[in-house]
């Protein structure tokens, strides 16, 4: 019986739930004995020139071994994203200028961790404050420059060379345009950032919390100015990343540099308050959508104009508008599509990937535009969507955004959620509540989405080895941090080898053991790394058959592999894989390259109740189809959907990183940054649908980010729908009680005029 598609319980959990995971800061590796503890003095100002740094008092404080300023660090300021303006480099410790609250300025090294903060408080840094730049439109004026050498706040752009077509909407009877904000979010992983390093025999060993150890190694080596071979990265358990832990952070290189500088191992982990300004954040786009069509409901043209926030130092976020543009038209067959994006630096925490990374921004924009268009022509938003969907027979379909969609059944997905929700009954209930003028009104929001998974990194390595004791080791270049690869990859090997999961160990995250790999991000793991493991195990079976053929004096074609044993079909004659491993290693190293990304899709329907007196919205139901092709393990796939949906609902209702006009973060604690608990979320209704891709032999697509892409616009739309009869057409996310109440009031004033 095949193990594929079965509900195998996560093999990693007994340890996590009993002894607990071993995170970077929990390590007791003997190489770290006697380590110094790093405490960073961070900038309290958003934008300022450093005029002086006084460290003598701190150097004399108890337990202090070294206090290092930016002037002493000999690593060259680094361009953290290759495509950014070359002048937008970040120092590892700021020496001349700080550009966001939380930027590291001085490093304090103490014998004990608790001594660090006392000493850090004695460091005196004098600043000459400069005006903060928070708003993207203000950044675009270049009135206040973050990098004088750059002469501009524009880091990079997409589609900026050509002018927009002034005739794009000429054929349209109806054109609607609107500015919408896709707000800044904090990844808020449970494990904050951490790194430890030691320098011995001309080589750095760096333990760090990352989603991509191999690229972390290469980045850190580049910043240190050494060869990648001189850096050995080891990734212990990682307590969540959501995109914010892709690759390395500059602090990691600083930890390694300090280890060499002091000749002692160095440990660092940040507090939650530091994490809320120091770790990269996500989203933060100011979008202008324009949509046009006819009164029958055909959408004929769509334009998306994006100002994307890079934060103070451009990082991965600077490239994400590429995905936003590529996915701009979503699931719709729109004749004319235009988009462009300008990426701007602001005096804020850097922007990088956050679950969805560029695609939720695209989906939120087009889905909002569809609603606005439907409202303008007075048609049901579901009907308008259905009318414009790309049809199954049109696949493979290349959009006007340039995306080569592999497979899709968009109308089916939509119908499934409508049926499960009882859409006509919900509309009837909504109508009745409106007629009765009830305080708690009903809102229904629908999104149909398509996204891109495995975009960018198509190739992945895997190795499978059977040992003489009958155990199996799987090596993978993916880097799980909650996804369950230890379970899933073992299932893939077991399927071919017929060896039980208890005998299979999945290893990852040690760059000496697995030198090549792209890590876990962009929902890429199964469709690249998983397929590679599956392929490696299959190849191992073939190798075993060849070896056994000699041994058993049989034709390889007459051999079967089952239960970890090669046998001659129809006879008792056979040899176990373990026995074959005795004479020479039974190992296969392989690589799988899909050469292309996948385009999973789905539909979400949210039912929201809004108290129109207080403005508070509560999600009552959410019903989703997240079609990522065949499901390897429903337990894991549902877990991914749950987490994503929770984060999607949360972006729509609760979360936002806020700065005041001076660039002070106002949401740097968990009291102010409103991520959700179970109490804010309903039970989710997950519907099944599996449309395979042809991009890889398993037919699988990625599922990790579906929830943040589909749920967010559905919930936002539902909140607006609940108060649309009061004249409200749009509310920016998060649709907080204050925002909803304000929108209702504004609509009432407008209505009275």
């Amino acid at each position: 019986m095949s193990i594929m598609g079965t509900r195998v319980i996560r093999t990693e959990d007994p340890l996590f739930l009993s002894r607990g995971a071993t995170y970077t800061d929990d390590l007791t590796d003997e190489r770290l004995i006697g380590a110094l503890h790093l405490t960073l003095v961070r900038s309290p100002l958003a934008h300022a020139r450093i005029t002086s740094v006084a460290v003598d008092e701190a150097r004399a404080a108890p337990g202090v071994v070294a206090v290092v300023t930016g002037a002493e660090v000999d690593m060259a300021p680094a361009l953290l994203f290759g495509g950014a303006n070359k002048a937008m480099v970040r120092s590892f410790l700021a020496a001349d200028k700080v550009r966001f609250v939380g930027e590291p300025v001085v490093a304090v090294l103490t014998e004990e961790a608790y001594q660090g903060q006392d000493a850090a408080d004695l460091v005196e840094v004098d600043y000459d404050p400069l005006p903060a730049v928070i708003d993207l439109h203000a950044a675009a004026t270049d009135e206040v420059l973050l990098f004088e050498d750059a002469g501009t706040n524009t880091s990079n752009g997409f589609g900026l060379d050509a002018e927009f077509d002034e005739h794009l909407f000429d054929d349209c009877e109806v054109v609607v345009t609107r500015e919408i904000t896709n707000q800044r979010l904090a990844a808020a992983s449970l494990e904050t950032r951490a790194a430890s390093a030691v320098w011995t025999d001309g080589r750095y060993t760096l333990w760090c919390s990352t989603q991509a150890p191999q690229s972390a190694r290469d980045e850190v080596a580049g910043w240190l100015g050494v060869d990648s071979a001189q850096v050995h990265v080891i990734t212990p358990d990682v307590g969540g990343g959501f995109g914010a832990k892709i690759g390395a952070d500059p602090e990691f290189a600083l930890v390694a540099w300090l280890a060499r500088h002091t000749g002692r191992p160095v440990r660092w982990h940040e507090s939650r308050s530091e994490n809320m300004t120091g770790m990269v954040q996500g989203r933060s786009q100011a979008q202008t959508v324009t949509i046009g069509g006819n009164r029958d409901g055909d959408v004929l043209a769509y334009r998306l104009d994006v100002l994307a926030d890079a934060g103070a130092y451009p990082r991965l976020g600077a490239v994400l508008p590429l995905f936003t543009r590529m996915m701009a038209p979503g699931v719709y067959d729109i004749g004319k599509v235009e988009s462009r994006a300008r990426v701007l630096v602001t005096t804020t925490t850097s922007i990088a990937a956050y679950r969805g990374a560029g695609r939720p921004e695209a989906t939120a924009a087009i889905e909002r535009a569809m609603d606005l268009f439907a409202a303008e022509i007075g048609k049901d938003p579901v009907e308008v969507r259905r009318r414009n969907l790309i049809k199954p027979e049109q696949f493979p379909f290349t959009t006007k955004g340039g995306a080569p969609y592999d497979t899709g059944e968009y109308a089916n997905a939509l119908d499934k959620v409508l049926d499960a929700a009882g859409y006509p009954e919900l509309r009837a209930e909504q109508k009745a509540r409106r007629e009765r003028g009830e305080v708690v009104q009903l809102g229904i929001g629908v999104s149909v989405f398509v996204e891109i998974t495995g975009g960018g990194a198509f190739s992945e390595d895997a190795a499978v080895e059977v040992h003489p004791d009958g155990t199996v080791t799987v090596l993978t270049g993916t880097s799980p941090h909650g996804q369950g690869h230890a379970t899933a990859w073992a299932m893939l090997a077991s399927e071919h080898l017929g060896i039980g999961l208890d005998k299979i160990t999945v290893k990852h995250g040690d760059t000496d053991l697995v030198p090549r790999g792209s890590g876990t991000m962009g929902s890429r793991s199964l469709q690249t790394g998983g397929v590679a493991v599956y392929q490696a195990a299959g190849e191992l079976v073939e190798l075993a058959k060849q070896r056994a053929a000699d041994l058993l004096e049989a034709n390889a074609d007459d051999l079967d592999v089952a239960d970890g044993r090669v046998s001659v079909r129809g006879t008792d004659s056979g040899v176990t894989l373990a026995q074959l491993a005795e004479s020479e290693p039974l190992r296969v190293d392989t690589n799988f390259d899909s050469g292309a990304p996948c385009f999973p899709f789905g539909a979400h329907l949210a039912v929201v109740e809004v108290d129109v007196e207080s403005g508070k919205a509560v999600v009552d139901r959410i019903i989703t189809v997240d079609d990522a092709g065949p499901v390897l393990n429903p337990v894991l796939a549902e877990g991914q959907r749950h987490g994503g949906i929770a984060q999607g609902i949360s972006q729509a209702l609760l979360e936002e990183v806020v700065y005041d006009e001076d660039g002070n973060p106002l949401t740097a604690t968990f009291a102010d940054y409103a991520f959700p608990s179970a109490a804010e979320l309903p039970s989710f209704t997950l519907l099944d649908m599996a449309t395979p891709t042809h991009v890889n032999p398993m037919g699988v697509k990625g599922i990790g980010e579906a929830g943040t892409i589909g749920a967010t616009p559905a919930v936002q739309s539902a909140v607006i729908d609940a108060v649309s009869h009061l004249g409200v057409r749009h509310i920016d996310m998060p649709t907080s009680p204050l925002r909803v109440w304000t929108a209702i009031n504004a609509a009432a004033v407008e209505g009275a005029q």
């Binding site: 507090s271 207080s614 609760l654 949401t667 009291a671 959700p676 608990s677 804010e680 009680p737």
Partner: protein, 276 residues
């Protein structure tokens, strides 16, 4: 998140705690449940030299009815945890409002640590229990080596995080009138998330209205109370709830929105209380 170094003592009696307070004055702080003071210390917004832990003093942990007949009240030791207030049979029978309010504080972990005395002493205008005690017309009992005094809650608070409590005084007890289980009461707490602090909250009991976060201290909705006494309808009386208030604006609410919420929540609380 590491506080400045401090000395720590755990006296074994209230008298012991008072002696230490008298000796060290403003250099010392009381630690009860620690759920307000420890975060403040970890953020280094406070750096007391001496921390006096009263969290385990059994003599501050009780709920009982004191006094005789008409002149009786519910007395709650300052060290009584929110969880005890929430689940006490005496509170349920005598002042059900207080149990209901205690149940809305934070989450179970916080309610198992935080104390009634700590909550009142901390004087955060966003706290739930001070407004409930205000609506009930309770009394705070303070003790120092100089003696004991009872301060009506109406005269206890002087501003944000400040009260008439002297640095050498300990809150030892909180007294609230016995409203009985049949009283008309309600608590409307408005939050974004289940375990958040109130954006605004309104406590109603027997026609008295206490409000959370509508000014630097917990406030009574005097205009509403007066209108009710004169026989106004709930809707008319609730429309006056924000009169004389001075709420602040912050991330979650503007001043105007808080005023609006005070009116809406007062209407709801009065309606619930009338139906009870």
């Amino acid at each position: 998140m590491i506080p400045v170094g401090f000395e720590y003592v755990r006296p074994d009696s209230v008298d012991g705690a008072l002696a230490l307070l008298a000796e060290h004055g403003e250099d010392a702080t009381i630690l009860a449940g620690g759920h307000s003071i420890l975060p403040v210390m970890k953020l280094r917004l406070a750096a007391p030299e001496l921390v006096i832990d009263i969290g385990r003093l059994a003599e501050l942990n009780y709920v009982r009815v004191d006094g005789d007949g008409d002149d009786s009240w519910v007395a709650i030791g300052a060290g009584t945890r929110h969880r005890t207030v929430e689940s006490s049979d005496v509170v349920a029978a005598e002042v059900p409002l207080l149990a209901a309010v205690a149940r809305t504080v934070g989450d179970p972990q916080i309610r198992h640590r935080g104390t009634l005395g700590g909550s009142l002493a901390h004087a955060d205008p966003a706290s739930d229990l001070p407004a409930a005690v205000l609506a009930l017309g309770g009394t705070v009992v303070l003790r120092s080596p100089r003696g004991e005094r009872s301060v009506p809650i109406t005269g206890f608070y002087t501003g944000v995080f400040s009260s008439v409590k002297e640095p050498d005084e300990l809150i030892v007890e909180v007294r609230v009138p016995r409203t009985g289980a049949g009283s008309g009461w309600a608590y409307e707490k408005f939050t974004r998330r289940a375990n958040d602090w109130a954006i605004v909250a309104v406590a109603v009991v027997d026609g008295r209205v206490g409000m959370v976060n509508m000014g630097p201290t917990p406030l009574r909705a005097s205009a509403t109370e007066a209108a009710l006494a004169e026989g106004a309808s709930i809707a008319d009386a609730a429309a006056l709830a924000d009169q004389g208030t001075d709420p602040t604006g912050d991330l979650t609410a503007t001043k105007e929105y808080r005023r609006h919420l005070a009116r809406v929540l007062t209407k709801r609380a009065l309606t619930t209380a009338a139906g009870a």
